[in-house]
Amino acid sequence: MLRKSLALAALGLALGLSWAAGPAFAASTQEEPKDVHWSFEGPFGKFDKEQVQRGYKVYREVCSACHSMDLMYYRNLGQKGGPFFDPKYQNPNENPVVKSLAHDIQVKDIDQDTGDVISRPATPADKFLAPFPNEPAARASNGGALPPDLSVITRAREGGPAYIYSLLTGFKGPPSDMSLPAGKYYDPYFPGDLTSSMKPGMAGHKPPVGGAIGMPPPLADGKVTFDDGKPSTVNEEAYDVVAFLEWAAEPKAEERKQFGLGAMIYLLIFSGLLYASYKKLWKNIEH
C-alpha cells in the first residue's frame, strides 16, 4: 500500500482512491553488503591519505569516463583533510601536485577576446570535468542508463561505503536459467527484481537475488597502476575508490569528528561542574 501511495502521488492523485486496492508490486531483492572496514569509520576514524590518493586515480582513470562529480573541484584534493594536502600550501590553489593533476585535464572555456569556445588546461579552481555535456548525452552513450553523479554516492545509497564496495566487487555471470537484455549485467548486491528476466520456460523458477545493472564490471586486475606500487587487484581498486568517494561525500568529516571530540569533552566537564553546583545549591532544600 505504501508503494501504492507513491504511485498515486506520482500521478498527481485522484480523489477518493482506495489505498488498499493497489497493484501488487513484486519485491525487490539484494544481497546484504559485504562486511568491510575502513580507517575512516567511527568517531575517531581518519582517512588513509595514500589510500584516498590511489582511490582518486581509480576514479580518474576508470569511473570518470562515465560518472560526473559535480560537487567536487580540483582544489578540494589539496585542501585540509584532502588526499594531496601539503601543510606548505595552505591555499590549495597553490599546491603544485593539485595544479599538475588539474593541468592534465582539458576543460572548455570561452575566449574572453573572441567569445569562441576553447579548450584550456584545468586549474585547481575548476570543477571536476564531467564526461557528458548533459543527461541525454549520458544516456545515449550508456544504453539508456544514466550513470549517477558520484559526489555524495556513499551517502545516497542504503548500506553506504560497504554497499558501493560490494557492488563493485560483486559482479557475477548470470545464472543459467536467466537471460539478461544486452547491456545489462547481473550483480547480486544491486537491488532489483529479476522475475521478468527468466528464460522462457523457466518462469516458475525463483529468480536469483539481486538485480541487473547497466554498468559493465568497471574494475579488473591491473587496470590501474598505483604510484606507490600497491598491487592493483579488483578488491584493492574497489576498496581504495570507495575510500576516495567517502572522503569526497563529506570532505569536512575529519574536521567534524575532531571538533566534536573537543566539544564533547568541554560539555562533559561543563555538565560535571553544573551538577556539582546543583548539588551544593540544593543541599539544604528538602525536596
Binding site: L15, W19, A156, K252, R256, Y275, Y278
Partner: protein
C-alpha cells in the same frame, strides 16, 4: 503565584527606567524571583531545553538562509556547498538538521510529562492549548524545512503531503493548486515553502511568549499535582532552577552532539542525498521519525479522505484533552489504574512510529503468514497500525473520561512539603527512591 513584585531598583538609572518601562522588574519577576515548586523533577527541565532548541534553530537557520538558494536547480547543490565551502557550514547545517529531531524529541518528552502529571488540567488549560498550537506550528515548520534541501525524499514527501489536501471533496484540487502555485510541486512551491519556513519559527517564538505568560499566572504544576500552599513549598527560579535546568541542558547537548558530530546522517534518509527527480519515485516514501505515528494513522484507513481526517483528528484530539479528563487528581502518582493505560499509550505511540516506518503490507512477525482479515493480512503492519490507532483514540476519548469517573485514586498529600518527608508510592523514607523522581 505571580503576585507581588519584590523588585527593588538598585541604582538611579534603574529607578528612572522602572517608572518608564519596567522591563528589569519584569525580567526579575519572571526569571529571578519567580516562585517555583521545589519538588520539580528532571522531566520539568525540558521546557528550558525546548527554549534553547528554538533559539538554536532560529540562529543556525538565519545563517543557513544567507547561503541557501531556493531554486529547484540550485537548492540541492547549495546545501552541499554550505557543508563544503562555508566556514563551519558543516556544523551549522548539521546542528540545524539534527536540531529538528532533538527539538521534537524534547517536545515529546515535555508532552508526555504533561500527560502523566496532569499539567493540562485547570487552571492550566490555556497553557496547554498554547502548547498544542506551538506543536502544530512545529510540525508545519519541520515539514517545510524538510522540503528545502530538495532531495528525493524532500520532493516526494512534499508531493504526498500536499496531495492529502486534494482528498477534500470539491475544493481539494483547487486548494492544492493554490498551495503549489502551479499544477505540481515545483519552483514556486519551493520558494513559498522557504518563505513560510522562515516565518513560522517567529510565530512559534511569539506563541512561546504567550505560553510562558500563561505558565506564570498559575505557576508550575509539580510531580504531586497539588498547588503551592506556603512559601516553604517553593524556591526562587534563580539560582535553583537556572542551575538545575542548566545541568539538564548540558546533558541534552551531549546527546545532541553525538548526532551532530558522529552520526550526522543517522536520522536522515539516504534518498535525500539524491537530487529531487519528479520522474523517479523512491521505493519507500517516509517522513522523518517524529511524524511517523501520524503517517501510520493516515495509512491505517483504507480510504484516503478518512485517513486524512483520522490524522488531523489525532492532532485535534490533544487540543480538547483538558475537557475529556474527568479526574480532579492531577498527578498519575495517585492514579495507579490510569497510570498503566498511560504507559501502554506511550508504548502505543512508539508502535505507531514503527508502523509508519514500514510498508503497510510488510509482515510484523516475519515468516508467519497470518490469516486474511477484510482487506489485508492480519499479520501485516496495516492491521497493527489500525489496532494502535484505535488505542490512540480510545485512550483520549474513552479511557481518560471513564477512568476519572470510575477509578479510586490514592490519598493525595496535603502539601508539597509533606510527601517530601514520606515519599508516596508506599516508599519508606530514606529508601533509594528512583533518582529521576527526586530531582
Amino acid at each position: 503565584m505571580s503576585g507581588h513584585s519584590t523588585y527593588e531598583p538598585k541604582s538611579g538609572l534603574e529607578t528612572w527606567l522602572d517608572s518608564r518601562l519596567p522591563i528589569l522588574r519584569f525580567a526579575n519577576d519572571t526569571i529571578v524571583t519567580f516562585p517555583t515548586p521545589k519538588n520539580l523533577n528532571y522531566w520539568w527541565t525540558f521546557g528550558a531545553i525546548l527554549a534553547l532548541m528554538l533559539g538554536i534553530q532560529i540562529v543556525t537557520g538565519i545563517v543557513l538562509a544567507m547561503h541557501y538558494i531556493p531554486h529547484v536547480d540550485m537548492a540541492f547543490n547549495s546545501v552541499q556547498r554550505i557543508k563544503r565551502d562555508v566556514n563551519y557550514g558543516w556544523l551549522i547545517q548539521g546542528m540545524h538538521a539534527n536540531g529538528a529531531s532533538m527539538f521534537f524529541l524534547a517536545v515529546y518528552v515535555h508532552m508526555f510529562r504533561n500527560l502523566y502529571y496532569g499539567s493540562y488540567k485547570a487552571p492550566r488549560e490555556v497553557l496547554w492549548l498554547l502548547g498544542c498550537v506551538i506543536y502544530l506550528l512545529m510540525i508545519g515548520t519541520a515539514f517545510f524545512g524538510y522540503v528545502l534541501p530538495w532531495g528525493q525524499m524532500s520532493f516526494h514527501g512534499a508531493v504526498v503531503i500536499t496531495n492529502l489536501i486534494g482528498a477534500l471533496p470539491v475544493v481539494g484540487h483547487a486548494i492544492t493548486t493554490w498551495l503549489w502555485g502551479g499544477f505540481a510541486v515545483d519552483d514556486p512551491t519551493l520558494n513559498r515553502f522557504f518563505s513560510l519556513h522562515y516565518l513560522l519559527p517567529f510565530m512559534i517564538a511569539g506563541v512561546v511568549g504567550l505560553h510562558i505568560w500563561a505558565l506564570h499566572v498559575p505557576g508550575n504544576n509539580n510531580p504531586v499535582g497539588i498547588d503551592v500552599r506556603s512559601p516553604q513549598d517553593s524556591v526562587p527560579f534563580h539560582p535553583y532552577y537556572t542551575v538545575k535546568d542548566g545541568f539538564a541542558i548540558s546533558v541534552f547537548l551531549i546527546l545532541y552532539g553525538v548526532f551532530v558530530f558522529w552520526l550526522p546522517d543517522a536520522l536522515g534518509d539516504a534518498a535525500n542525498y539524491i537530487k529531487a527527480n519528479p520522474l523517479v519515485t523512491p521505493q519507500h516514501i517516509v517522513p522523518e521519525w517524529y511524524l511517523l505515528p501520524f503517517y501510520a494513522i493516515l495509512r491505517a484507513l483504507p480510504n484516503k479522505l478518512m485517513g486524512v481526517i483520522a490524522m488531523f483528528g489525532a492532532i485535534a484530539t490533544i487540543f480538547v484533552l483538558p475537557w475529556l479528563d474527568t479526574s480532579k487528581v492531577r498527578s498519575m502518582r495517585y492514579r495507579p489504574t490510569i497510570r498503566l493505560y498511560f504507559f501502554i499509550f506511550v508504548l502505543d505511540c512508539i508502535v505507531l512510529g514503527f508502523c509508519g516506518a514500514h510498508s503497510p503490507d510488510d509482515l510484523v512477525i516475519p515468516g508467519v503468514v497470518g490469516p486474511q482479515f477484510l482487506d489485508a493480512n492480519l499479520n501485516s503492519f496495516v492491521w497493527l497500525s489500525r489496532i494502535a490507532a484505535l488505542y490512540y483514540f480510545a485512550y483520549f476519548w474513552v479511557i481518560t473520561p471513564l477512568m476519572g469517573l470510575t477509578e479510586t485514586p490514592l490519598p493525595v498529600p496535603e502539601t508539597i512539603s509533606s510527601p517530601v518527608l514520606s515519599h508516596p508510592a508506599a516508599m519508606p523514607a530514606g529508601a533509594a527512591a528512583s533518582p529521576e523522581k527526586r530531582g
